[in-house]
């Protein structure tokens, strides 16, 4: 088998191709280091039908996370995971889907945006989601990411006004990450009206792929969100199973179920 580290496809092109083919994107999330076998889990999720994988770098003070990902992050740190170790392991992964790293500003600031993005690039990572770096603070990071070929995925929330949605979609790349709720990450049984409303507003403002995250708990909520967007990100539902001790194969079962639900959505193609 050939190594594909440098051959992992760029994030946005990959997602646009899927959209053009009428396929809804599915991006599961894994906290780096949550279990000793976390890299095997990433590979299993890719095999189960993920279109990209989001890797969370564990951080001591994850302000935007609900209890599940907080616990995953703490467990990873307790087991000695660091940014350097996580990226070294990511570089060894044998995958044919792009990887996007999610993290908090301090881990980037601590190394400097340039060094951080350079390390992402050399680990074969395509994109970065800096969850607590809003557009107003992102200029140096966007420049550093661009110079290392890293796509910076920015988040929009139900509270984001229209002019900001346009600016975020314009200056970010990879995809636009639309948060279904005003709140933290975590599973929800159903998605509120604001999720559909936001997806519609973002789609009207940009041609970039729009993926919805926060609250996606399984096939039903995934399908509900994907009817209004180009795909979904699923974090807490994956990590809850991992924390409960499920095997990579069992967790991959969830991804297969969601894949099936997403593939059943029939939607007129974009013109």
């Amino acid at each position: 088998m050939t190594t594909v580290t440098l051959g992992r496809p760029p994030l946005e092109r990959h997602l646009r191709d899927h959209r053009d083919q009428g396929r809804k994107a599915l991006v599961p999330y894994v906290t780096a280091g949550v279990t000793p076998g976390w890299t095997g889990l990433v590979e299993a999720l890719a095999d189960a039908g993920a279109d990209a994988i989001e890797i969370g770098l564990p951080y001591s003070d994850p302000m935007l996370e609900g209890t599940t990902i907080q616990e995953a992050s703490q467990r990873a740190l307790d087991q000695g995971m660091t940014t350097d170790r996580a990226l070294a392991a990511v570089a060894e992964l044998d995958l044919n889907v792009p990887l996007v790293v999610m993290t908090y500003s301090n881990l980037i600031r601590h190394r400097g945006a340039g060094v951080f993005c350079e390390r992402l690039a050399s680990a074969g990572v395509s994109g970065l989601i800096p969850v607590d770096t809003p557009l107003d603070e992102a200029t140096p990071l966007l420049a550093a990411a661009r110079s290392h070929g890293i796509e910076t995925v920015l988040i929009v929330a139900p509270s984001t006004p229209p002019d900001r949605i346009e600016a975020i979609a314009d200056q970010g790349s990879g995809f636009v990450y639309a948060s279904t709720v005003m709140g933290t990450t975590g599973e929800r049984t159903t998605l509120g009206d604001q999720a559909a409303d936001l997806a519609t507003r973002v789609r009207a403002a940009t041609d970039r792929p729009v993926l919805m995250g926060f609250g996606i708990s399984g096939p039903q909520t995934a399908a509900q969100a994907a009817r209004h967007a180009d795909g979904v990100i699923m974090g807490a539902a994956v990590m809850r199973r991992v924390l409960a001790g499920e095997s990579a194969n069992e967790v991959a079962g969830l991804v297969r179920e969601v894949r099936t639900a997403l593939d059943a959505i029939i939607e007129p193609r974009w013109p």
Partner: protein, 393 residues
């Protein structure tokens, strides 16, 4: 540009104090921060708002607080020590100045709920108090360890009608309580105001909280003019955790010749032992490990157990306008006892960090014999009595 023009000024739209400050929050909170900044700018230039705040501080919180010449301590040390008595403000510390300001602003914005984080419970009690005064709902987030250690303050908050939520994540102390308060704010930013307790957080908080605490320094400056032949003290000193009482004190003296000294807890010295980083929405000095993970602070005073420091202090330190030193737990306990026995004042452990520096520096080049020093006594020590009894056994 003079140094004083660039420090303790309006940080502008980007909320920067030199390299520090900013607004590092999830996108969902950006509209709330922007709206808060707009409202604060509008209120702070509205004389009716300021008069209402000043009047409430006077008739409810007991301002102005006096400056007490510490006669016996001064005689013993050979320096003139003046104490700015924030311990005499309602609820027992300077925290009420900020909470009243923010709560009146929250009312002006139409918010019905106040959220707050608390470590030892002083800011939580102040918020619960003002919530009761103004008829606002109050939810206080407090680390589970602190809930246990400060059971009496938890009861005080509940007695005042507040809801106290124990936070079980991480180290279960102030930093975790702060993260949890942010999480809840994301979910209710349209109806709830997050009442941050120090000069930290995303813009406009560090600036806004300093402006609400400015009253300490402005009163003290006028009082020093009455009490000291030279009009201003040679040195102004205050303890620094997040740094709100120090920022408020320094704001009154930054334009004078007074030397400004901030005293950190030895186990939580973000300026002394930290490096630049980003936590809870702002860039400043931060205690962190090689990976960039935030470290837990350890001090005898829970109020200084915070791994970061307000961005203005980082800037004051870098610009050289203020000096930051630290005091260890033993010095602080000794200072508490000394102040109690020479002046009949039981100072909070936090405040006694500033007193400890005076005891150490008096008669040295730092604070030469016959010089004058103003110490902000940020709070009273009744809350610490049980803990100190154990420590002195």
């Amino acid at each position: 540009m003079t140094q004083t023009a660039s420090v303790l000024a309006d940080p502008g739209a980007d909320g920067r104090f030199g390299a520090f400050g900013g607004r590092y929050v999830p996108e969902a909170l950006i509209p709330a921060c922007r709206s808060l900044e707009r409202e604060f700018r509008s209120a702070w230039s509205d004389s009716a708002f300021r008069e209402h705040l000043t009047r409430t501080l006077a008739v409810y919180a007991g301002r102005p607080t006096p400056v007490t010449p510490a006669a016996r301590l001064s005689a013993e040390l050979g320096v003139t020590v003046l104490l700015k008595r924030e311990d005499l403000a309602h609820t027992g510390s300077h925290k009420i100045n900020n909470v009243l300001g923010q709560a009146l602003l929250a009312q002006r914005r139409g918010c019905t709920t106040l959220l707050a984080e608390t470590g030892a419970g002083q800011h939580g009690v102040a918020t619960a108090t003002v919530g009761a005064l103004l008829g606002l709902d109050v939810t206080v987030f407090m680390g589970a360890k602190d809930v246990e250690r400060q059971a009496l303050n938890v009861f005080r908050m509940e007695l005042l009608g507040a809801k106290v939520v124990p936070v079980t994540s991480g180290s279960q102390t102030l930093a975790d309580a702060t993260s949890e308060a942010f999480r809840h704010w994301v979910g209710q930013s349209e109806t709830a105001h997050y009442c941050i307790g120090s000069v930290m957080g995303p813009h406009p908080y560090p600036w806004m909280v300093r402006e609400f605490q400015r009253v300490i320094g402005e009163e003290a400056r006028g009082q020093c003019a009455q009490l000291l032949p030279a009009g201003i003290p040679d040195v102004v000193v205050a303890c620094v955790g997040g740094g709100s009482n120090a920022a408020g004190t320094f704001a009154g003296f930054v334009g004078t010749s007074a030397r400004l000294v901030g005293v950190e807890a030895a186990g939580g010295a973000s300026i002394g032992n930290g490096s630049p980083g980003i936590l809870h929405g702002f860039e400043s000095y931060l205690l962190q490990n090689d990976d960039g993970q935030v470290l837990e602070a350890h001090s005898v005073s829970a109020g200084l157990d915070y791994p970061g420091v307000g961005p203005e202090h980082a800037h004051l330190a870098d610009s050289g306008r203020a000096t930051y030193v630290s005091a260890d737990d033993d010095e602080v306990l000794a200072a508490m006892v000394k102040l109690a026995r020479t002046e009949g004042i039981l100072g909070a452990l936090e405040s006694c960090h500033a007193v400890a520096w005076v005891l150490r520096a008096a008669g040295t080049d730092e604070l030469p014999t016959s010089s004058t020093v103003l110490v902000t006594l940020s709070g009273r020590g009744d809350k610490d009595a049980a803990q100190v009894r154990e420590l002195l056994k």
